[in-house]
């Protein structure tokens, strides 16, 4: 009996392993392809080799040679970080209130934020274009930060209120009994427990802002506020007849790095099941 079940689990494990490998390869091949392209010289760009025959850093040198890409990178980082910070702060407050308090209009608030999250962004593009031009926000940082916050807030509120609901509020009472002021109770007990939720939300919101192309392409017109996804589409080769694919690939690799760093940095703080053991169960 034991032998049979052992064989069964072994077969199962191999099956799952195979499936996982296929899935990982499927997801990674395009990424690796881009990486490979970015290291090819313009002459060998279209040779179809997966591993570049000769490694070249020309593409990277090129994109950093002009201000076009560097400006876009600065815009991207600045806009995404500011929008993320504001959305997470407001989202935390709103989610805390939603999870914790009963106030009139709570359902309405949740309903509206859900509505915003589902709203097709493309239908907002032309009105936003007109409004921002009228207000002088067009092609400025706030002109992108504002719509990003609008669409990131529902996401933030939803993720965070799920996290807040998980925190046993008896802990706050216990802290009070142990002699903490409300501020100390929040700082020493609630905040550390809510932190994983806040970081998770920050990552999701940051990625959302970082990846956006639709607003970036429609609400900007110059280097003043154009972010990397939009700037990529304006890339040209060093001459009109040169294929810009190598530069685009290099830029694509470069803009993935902040996301990877961001996730790695915050991942340490996201410890699943941190709240288990607070209360029985």
């Amino acid at each position: 009996m034991a032998g049979i079940s052992g064989a069964e689990t072994k077969a199962k494990r191999i099956g799952w392993g195979l499936l996982n490998t296929v899935a990982v390869i499927y997801a990674l091949v395009p990424v690796l392809w881009i990486v490979s392209l970015s290291f090819k010289s313009s002459a060998t760009l279209t040779d179809g080799n997966f591993i570049p025959r000769e490694w070249s850093f020309d593409n990277y040198r090129n994109i950093f040679a002009t201000t076009e890409f560097i400006r876009a990178l600065v815009n991207s980082i600045g806009i995404a970080v500011i929008a993320t910070a504001i959305a997470v702060v407001f989202g935390t407050m709103a989610a805390y209130a939603i999870a914790r308090l009963d106030f009139p209009g709570k359902r309405l608030l949740v309903g509206i934020s859900l509505l915003i999250a589902m709203f097709p962004q493309i239908s907002l593009v032309s009105p936003l274009f007109d409004i921002e031009r009228a207000l002088g926000l067009f092609d400025t940082w706030p002109g992108l930060i504002l719509p990003y916050i609008t669409f990131a807030l529902p996401l933030a509120i939803y993720t965070l209120s799920a996290f807040f609901r998980e925190i046993p509020w008896e802990l706050e009472k216990a802290a009070k009994m142990d002699g903490a002021t409300p501020a100390q109770a929040f700082q020493k007990v609630i905040a550390p427990l809510a932190a994983p939720g806040v970081f998770t939300t920050a990552i999701l919101v940051f990625i959302f802002c970082w990846n956006d192309f639709l607003f970036a392409i429609t609400l900007t017109s110059t280097e003043a506020s154009r972010t990397v996804p939009a700037a990529l589409s304006f890339f040209t080769g060093s001459s009109q007849f040169e294929d810009p694919a190598g530069s685009i690939a290099a830029a694509a690799v470069v803009i993935t790095i902040p996301i990877i760093l961001f996730v790695l940095f915050f991942q340490r703080r996201i410890v699943a099941g941190l709240t288990s053991g607070a209360v029985k169960g």
């Binding site: 802290a175 009994m177 142990d178 209360v279």
Partner: protein, 394 residues
Amino acid sequence: MAEIVLDKVTKRYPDGALAVQEVNLEIADGEFIILVGPSGCGKSTTLNMIAGLEDITDGELRIGGQRVNEKAPKDRDIAMVFQSYALYPHMTVKENMAFPLRLAKVDNATVEKKVKEAAEILDLSQHLERKPSNLSGGQRQRVAMGRAIVRSPKAFLMDEPLSNLDAKLRVQMRTSVSRLQKQLGTTTVYVTHDQTEAMTLGDRVVVMRGGVVQQIGAPQFLYDQPANLFVAGFIGSPSMNFVPATLENGALRSVIGDVTLTDRIRRLVESADAPREVILGIRPEHFEDAAIVEPAKLSAGGKFTSHVDVLESMGSDKYAYFNLTGEQAASAELQELAADAGSDDVPGDGISLVTRLSSASGAVEGEPADIWFDADKVQLFDPSSGKNLTYTER
């Protein structure tokens, strides 16, 4: 350490629910007092008001002679143990226990010393560096106790601290809680809905029902002299038997036999101005197999004969269950008790009776048995008010 006084304390929740009504209670310094009652009777609310976690709607709460109604929990110097333990999951056992001391800005050396002492008392020394999620239920419970005792507060409040443990552990922890309280001599208010805990732990027991205190007294006193039907039915396990009865010319008639009242009971009944129809209450241990009762005592009690429904032999004694034909005793209190015990929907045909007979009894399951009861041990209750007509202060 201090005494705690509740002076007509009332709690009305914002939604209008009256949870606690004019509770008067004086808890002496060092006393171990138990709040007991069925679910929803206002025990936790009372405790939370003493803690400062709930506002007091009306009345006054004094700790150590000082009015504390308006004081925040942290300024009352009281520690609380929660039913869920409420341990801080991101801190180790040691940090959990040290937390109140750190907040009080106690210096490091003293914190170390106090935590070490508490850990030794509670047998937690080898778990100090672990996180609560890696502990067993009993260990978590002890950490919660440890967090309460480290800073030597004026009083401990405990809200059903053992109800999440399994039966065996609960009995073990019950003795250690009791020992710990004696050792520290700290005033303790302990909430439970388990009448066994109430009987075994406290110096005094407060029985509550629907936000109103029913009776306050030592466990044995509540057992012997319940003030009303509710206390009589709540305290004691198995609980008191209730049978409708009629008072007539100094005699008491009921399905468990007719008896003449003893002089003591007659005097009490007369001064209490008892109605004709009463409810007779008698505890299981006041029955005996008529065959083994001394002849002299036999006449001083009532007798009935019935088939033994179920017989449970405990070795030391035997529990015999009977089902007699007749109307059940009816009163609001008894209905509420039955609902709390979850037995209100059992088809209640006839009167069920639990008797405790000595092991020498020859009663056999399914066979008829002659059962005697002690006439001086009956308690009589007024069915409309629930009041105990045979209640004496001492």
